[in-house]
Amino acid sequence: MTASCAIRLNSTLTAEQKALFQSPDQIRNVLATARTIAIVGLSTEPQKASHFVASYLQDAGYRIVPVNPRGGVILGETVYGNLAEIPFAVDVVDVFRPSPDVDVLAATAIQIGAKVLWQQLRINNIAAATHASEAGLVSIIDACIKMEHGRYSGGLHTVGMNTEIVTARRLRSPGSAF
């Protein structure tokens, strides 16, 4: 991995919190290594943000695991009632639930051996994030996993957004930006 550009926009965190919970190096490493992403609070409605994110992640080659008490099937994947019911390992727990709910989710994520606890945009339970970090997980808060993937894979750039990436190095192959 080459040196990272500072990502300063669209964050409500302090510089110190950003260094802990929105580190570009950690985010790029998560996107490069994760394969299975549990999405807690994934909606069945195709026009909801969580559905956009899940379908995008599938297109990007990740396996998504819907977690929602309603059960059923979303985007071709079996829905589990909670994280503990998932019968296989997940790399990332991606949270679309209000901040107070993240305390319990962090504890479960640690329990099931997830490697990353990712709180989506505007979800910023610092205590839960710290708890997960202390247990050895990578903790990301107040960031969208789709936007971050789009930042480094070139997608956000195609729609004119400021990725804040500045480099004169040639891309080696698609996805090498991670």
Binding site: N10, T158, G160, V166, A168, L171, R172
Partner: protein, 431 residues
Amino acid sequence: MTQPRSFGFETRMLHAGHVPDAETGARAVPIHQSTSFVFHDTRHAAHLFELKQYGNIYSRISNPTTAVFEERIASLENGTGALAVASGMAAQLTTFLTLLSPGDEIVASSHLYGGSVTQLTHTLKKLSLKVHFVDPRRLENWEQAITPRTRLLYGEIIGNPRGSILDVEPLAKLGNAHRIPLVVDATFATPYLCRPIDWGATIVVHSATKFIGGHGNSLGGVIVDSGKFDFSSFATLADPSDAYHGLRFHDTFAHYAFLMKARVETVRDTGACISPTNSFLLIQGLETLSVRMERHVQNALRVAKFLDAHPKVAWVSYAGLSDHPDHALAQKYLPLGAGAVFTFGLLAPTPADAREKGKQLIERLQLFSHLANVGDARSLVIHPASTTHQQLSEEELIRGGVGPEMVRLSVGLETSEDLLWDLDQALEGIS
């Protein structure tokens, strides 16, 4: 692990928005002169149309060359993203059409480019949008014009043609207090001289045709969003969109909502898109922006001082001069220079005489090109009352400060002594 790096303005002028591609490694930005782009498969196509994937469909909506221009200008303005369109007029109209619904109101500065006054007054009226023009120099004027239907505040950072400076910071605060976004046209400043987002503006628009392109060869406009305004209760962005099966842009795209909607609804439907070749030429302009603007403002100040001391000149309105009423504002918002477009008035006993002398001056100039544009590398001259602002009524001309004696200059990059020589010989020849 090294500390993440924040790069400087000049570095971003040259590099932001363009990573050399894996296939060719082309160092200059390639011109993707293609109307349309091949899908990977049917699922990819469907997801692009549903906005579930980022990617190019058709150059009316997005284009790889244009994306470099967009991201680069967003970076220079410290914005969250940008949308390039056909012209500066298209940039402001796209902003209005994206944010407003019939019955909504705008409070706008009266110190605007004449074409903008016409667009706001006549074209927006056809869409049932109402505009209140205010003298921008007093904050109370803005506040008093705000009604429960006001959805947008609009002004130019350097007003065309009188060169008044918009006091962005208190105006942005007023907007925030009323939950109304402030849109600032920063064409005359460029992001090198002023970045309105840093002072609280919500959205910045440019006619990129001017100093950004800088060579008078390409039309283009651009809209930059700060990503900082809370649009969660703003009907056009928060309510379900009929054009996308009930998609709520603010819920789904958050700080990208305004720009996404402007792109995939407004420009998709109006067709006010930019050509990829123009985007390329505007990118070329951006790569030398700081170097050109430094010389533009240096020459402009020299020319302004020369005219100020000339016996045939009644007044010079350049905020870079210490006796200009907005000089303090210029020092605050434009510390590197108050732009390179300004006006001056010829000494004349009557309006008719002033008009005649203005014509004589323009006829005698040898280096200043007489045309309707600003922001070229070459020096330009025009008589606004009979050209750029001629569609305005007498009352509108007075409100915009456009008198018959007024001559507007856009000072270029020529040898400054030659510009002074030209003005001097032309002024001397006036009878």
